[in-house]
Symmetry: C2
Subunit: 274 residues, 2 copies
């Protein structure tokens, strides 16, 4: 059994491209549709009702492209819609929360897991709930890191940079003190701070990239359900953004390896309200 | 001659409330309409075409409330629409750029003016052009400060905070070295960093709040054109936000003195596309 339709991935902005990168590695023959709502990024500081409204529009837009699977590669969206059954309607859907929680539980040896995310994500408690649902005895230490997204978006990620060092120290101090051996980076922007976070927490702590975890989970789900393509050609990546295509091009390189080819079209925010 | 209609003020988010605060001081009897596009804030990292599209929608929304004057209390919008004639249509309109440039030129003694703003604002060169149009011999030193808005929005503004100190030092180093005696804070969020900026630049540098400068300019314009109210009652402040009213309430206090009363209603982003 096979299915040659595309896989749809969306995010508030460009962070979800960390999930796309992983998909290109593990499923090189799949066609991918990526949607970044760059004209309304970031979602992480907005109210839950606005996040859910935007997420519904994002899913509806991706579904217009006849996809076989939808990945919300956005920690904020995934946290807000956790618990809403069948968010993708009749299309298989995953966010990043459950895949990250499962990956963290496979990794931890001492049962202490750190969770970092945007303000909305941490306020939702979604990662904590997902971890405890699978493994009630596991302890999570949860911290919102509202400066991490602006730091990454402005290219301020060097582990020797004073601002980066201080932000990492401030946000991860409690997690470090807790003795956690695994950290869920619950926002798809955060892998850009991997070096700085590793420097502070030490090599012994396993870092889980939520975007990569979602890609691996989606692969398993598609395998189980006979949804993988039987094409042996290299898959295409078509991107859509609500802000200008030029701005997307300028910044996508931070999240996507240079060898990955794509084309990008602009759509109007107005089209999301149709 | 008098006019009892309201004055309309808008911003991408809450920063424009610094302009409202000044209006309440100098024009206590005027009714004010404030519109904050919180569901799409910030504008400063978006493309020029998206900023102009949003600005047109913001103006159209404010005009639905029968206002006699419109103030774009947003450095990013003001910079993007500088040079577009009659942006308010038949309603008198001002941004923050010209008022701030005029105030800086009244203040400077040595003819060197620092300008700070969002990436879009500084890339537009709007403040520099406005200064040089009035006074070609004046020198401006312009720096984008992309971390300042997220710092203010997350309440990280203490002048002793390491991150604040380092961000201020990094962004204002060139301006300090230039010997500028006046600084245009070209984004309505920045007055929250006044203490940290003053500490770094020293007492000798005059800081121009773009929101306050726009309020004073609007007052003069209304005086000249017979547009002030003849009411002696305290003016009302009615706010609209595209995100939730609760979120607006939670955060408005950072920008507005507690004694200022207002009511706030949510409108949908969809209404901006009508």
């Amino acid at each position: 059994m096979s299915d040659n339709r595309a896989v749809g991935v969306f995010d508030s902005g460009l962070g979800g491209l960390t999930c796309v990168s992983r998909l290109k590695d593990i499923l090189p023959h799949e066609n991918l549709i990526y949607f970044g709502d760059n004209a309304r990024v970031p979602y992480g500081s907005r109210s839950k009702e606005t996040i859910i409204e935007y997420a519904k529009q994002d899913v509806a837009f991706v579904k217009r492209h006849d996809v076989k699977m939808i990945i919300a590669a956005c920690g904020t969206v995934s946290s807000a819609v956790t618990g809403m059954k069948n968010f993708g309607g009749d299309t298989p859907f995953t966010g990043v929360v459950l895949p990250s929680a499962a990956a963290a539980l496979r990794s931890t040896r001492n049962g202490i897991i750190g969770v970092i995310g945007t303000s909305a994500t941490i306020a939702s408690g979604a990662y904590e709930k997902a971890v405890k649902e699978i493994s009630p005895a596991t302890r999570t230490v949860n911290t919102a890191c509202p400066l991490f997204v602006p730091l990454v978006e402005n290219g301020i990620t060097d582990k020797e940079d004073i601002i980066v060092k201080e932000a990492v120290r401030r946000y991860l101090y409690d997690i470090k003190c807790s003795g956690a051996d695994t950290l869920i980076m619950g926002c798809t922007h955060y892998p850009h701070l991997t070096e700085a976070i590793r420097e502070y927490l030490g090599e012994g702590v396993e870092l889980i990239s939520s975007g990569a975890a979602a890609a691996e989970y989606a692969k398993e789900l598609m395998e189980e359900n006979g949804l993988l393509t039987d094409s042996r050609a290299e898959g295409e990546l078509i991107c859509y953004t609500t802000d200008s295509a030029e701005l997307f091009d300028e910044n996508a390189g931070k999240f996507l390896e240079k060898s990955i080819k794509y084309r990008v079209d602009k759509i109007s925010v107005e089209e999301l309200y149709i």
